[in-house]
């Protein structure tokens, strides 16, 4: 089948970008979305032009590198699917597909579809860990953890740090990402000890990085490729409230 692509091209953060059109792109329905971009890039290189810069690595939906807004939706139309796992059989012959980067003031554009998501690393550095040094641990089975609890913690921990939640949010809020981390650790006995200080530090860091406020639109949950639940946000809000009351005492 043939598609028309409109792709955001921008040399660097200081220049203005625009959508560029690529007509008659030859597509096999079994290709992944990124393999389609590969084909376009091979063509561009053959014409001695600059290929489209985009991030990707695992191409298995787990590293969180890929990050395209496809027809207005972060990671495209398929529920619970990253860009790299999206396959072309979900598009129709003759369709026009618009491809843009994940946009947010806290994710400055580096080039074309590549943005800087290092703010997420800094949120984790502010407190997204359990303070246990190598070799200090007790036997792994010494604290049984109820299976349901462990499973809920795992679900929160399956966030891939892609930033689609930020790109989807009208306020560019990072609440879903931050709350997934806060919940993952707070739900487990190992993380409980530092739960209060952790939530305070991480939320403060998130604000400092310039992410917007959460107004409960729920767009993040809809676009999250790992279907991280918005319940994590409620859980984090409760924990934050509790912790801030505690710290005023």
């Amino acid at each position: 089948m043939k598609l028309t692509l409109k792709v955001w091209r921008q040399k660097n953060v200081n220049t203005k970008g625009s959508l560029e059109t690529y007509n008659n792109v030859d597509v096999d329905p079994d290709m992944s979305f990124l393999e389609m971009i590969d084909v376009v890039n091979e063509q561009l290189i053959a014409e001695k032009k600059e290929p489209i810069a985009f991030e990707h690595d695992c191409r298995e939906g787990i590293c969180g590198a890929c990050s395209m807004v496809i027809n207005g939706r972060p990671h495209g139309p398929q529920q619970g699917t990253t860009t790299c796992q999206l396959h072309m059989r979900h598009f129709k012959d003759g369709e026009t597909v618009v491809i843009e980067p994940f946009r947010s003031a806290s994710f400055p554009i580096i080039k074309d579809l590549v943005v800087d998501r290092s703010a997420f690393d800094r949120i984790i550095q502010s407190g997204g860990y359990v303070s246990v040094k190598t070799g200090q641990a007790q036997d792994a089975n010494s604290i049984p953890i109820e299976k349901g609890l462990a499973d809920t913690a795992f679900e929160a921990a399956s966030c891939i740090g892609c930033g689609a939640c930020v790109a989807a949010c009208p306020n560019a809020s990072a609440m879903l990402f931050t709350s997934a981390k806060v919940s993952h650790l707070a739900l487990l006995p190992q993380g409980e000890v530092e739960a209060e200080s952790r939530v305070m530090k991480m939320v403060d860091k998130m604000d400092e990085e310039g992410f917007g406020m959460c107004s409960n639109t729920g767009a993040c949950e809809v676009e999250c490729p790992k279907e991280i639940s918005i319940e994590n946000i409620a859980r984090m809000n409760r924990a934050y409230l509790k912790a801030s009351l505690g710290s005023e005492k």
């Binding site: 096999d28 690595d57 298995e60 359990v130 246990v132 190598t134 792994a140 795992f154 993380g191």
Partner: protein, 645 residues
Amino acid sequence: MGLDAKVPPGPLEDKWTKYRSTMNLVAPNNKRRIDVIVVGTGLAGASAAATLGELGYNVKAFCFHDSPRRAHSIAAQGGINAAKNYQNDGDSVYRLFYDTIKGGDYRSREANVHRLAEVSVDIIDQCVAQGVPFAREYGGLLANRSFGGVQVSRTFYASGQTGQQLLIGAYSALSKQIATGSVKMFNRHEMLDLVVVDGKARGIIARNLLTGKLERHAAHAVVLATGGYGNVFYLSTNAMGSNVTAAWQAHRRGAYFANPCYTQIHPTCIPVSGHYQSKLTLMSESLRNDGRVWVPKKKEDVMAIREGRMTGGDVPEEDRDYYLERRYPAFGNLVPRDVASRAAKTACDAGHGVNKAGLAVYLDFAERIKELGEDTIRARYGNLFAMYEKITGENPYKTPMKIYPAVHYTMGGLWVDYNLESNLPGLFVAGEANFSDHGANRLGASALMQGLADGYFVLPYTIGQFLSTQIRVDKIKDDTKEFEEAEQNCRKRLQAFLDVKGDKSVESYHRELGLIMWDNCGMARNEQGLTEGRAKIRALRDDFYKNVFVPGTQEEFNPELEKAARVADLLELGELMMVDALDRAESCGGHFREESVSEEGEAQRKDKEFTYVSAWEYFNQNGDPTLHKEELTFDNVELKTRSYK
């Protein structure tokens, strides 16, 4: 010249404990004055950098990713082994040691493997304490599953996302050290050269991938934890960015490259679907706990399936060949990877392959779904089944999966001694980047174990043996002639790619290299194929430097230029793999030489001639690498023909 692995004396079980308590230490006030560079922050590097930081060293860590959390380790699916014996099924440190030695076809170093089995138990404790949400049973205790090549349940897992959860654990430990300032993290920095001063590794040249600037970084010691080189085959289960550059540049500077030809071809991957294919996707080995592997016995069924007139489900039970269960009744579908892969190849070569290209076999869950219900299977493998469906458009709950072997892991890597130090003093290597522990074939769920063993529990202490001799050495200066030369060397190399201005893309060379490797140095190898393969790679490399096209400049974010430098190194590595495979005229583990098979068609080792590690020195003026041997001695296990029958 023989190589000294510096294995400590004493009985196998006591070596590590004794050595650890007699190793030289670096006092805390001295640690603060010592700089260590860690290149790579996957499982091995992140755990090493975090632990070195905790111990008080000044650490600089590097990765080419935009965040340590994106390292290739994130993609590991099935699990991590540890000799915890929580299932009380007869597991022990010795059994894990023995399984690993046997699984590796008696081509690994006993002392290293025993240490690995010993520290495996600490890894699980550490990870749980960090908040890694491993799967649990209803009673709240940790759950286990089985992996190929063993008869106990010792694999810990977190759904099909074990690597992700372990890496997030190591990344969080690393993040904490970054916050305290003991580790300085350099994301989007790629090491392009190793700097050797007076015979010791003293720093690196790294390219800031955003600006293109070449930077000098000096330290008392350098640790490489830069992953494996499976991408030399172009199509592999590795992440797109995985490459050999850091290890290869160290090799060019004098570090020996060990057993490069030992490649693991994983039996259960989604088959190639078209010419545009960019990578292959693994379907975790854990699936073989419940899935049965088969092909149709009758050629007419095969043809009908290929032409779409029939599906796998239509083939009557008696016309199916469950060839693993038939050939290896003791282990059945859970034979080790090399054995399962070769058996799939044999079935397909005999014309029984079930996709259009004839390069696929079935992995069938129908029986277990009937027995246990779809929900149980979904709970065990839900994310893998979903991934399969996304990629192929077929529902594996209804039709059997189609799978085929693909390149997955590289047992070879830089040579290291018992301290994980290479032959270049001050250069340490951890994780998939070194050659240690897995011999000629790695068992499933053992790479995560090895990476974390190296990073958390071995290297941070063994590096003290070297660093304790360096406490009087001042801060290493980066304005010396060695740094100058290395930086200029990088600049020239990069400019050379840009200056070719040919008309073929980097990608096209990579694909071509992959084909040569797969055809001539893949699942089955022979002298003629390897000799031809070597010549082909040389020709391809010459062509690369004449006709490649790399757009842009050095002084900017330029992913094509990054790729060119990586492919250039893979083009050299490929040749060394052919040379190594030629030298090793025996079959062992993943290295199958068609000239060396038993009467039953199984791999035949030649212990008298080949019980050694091949450690290669970089190509000399004639373009030939020099072989150094580390003889392997087995004092605790008897060398047997590996049998899974």
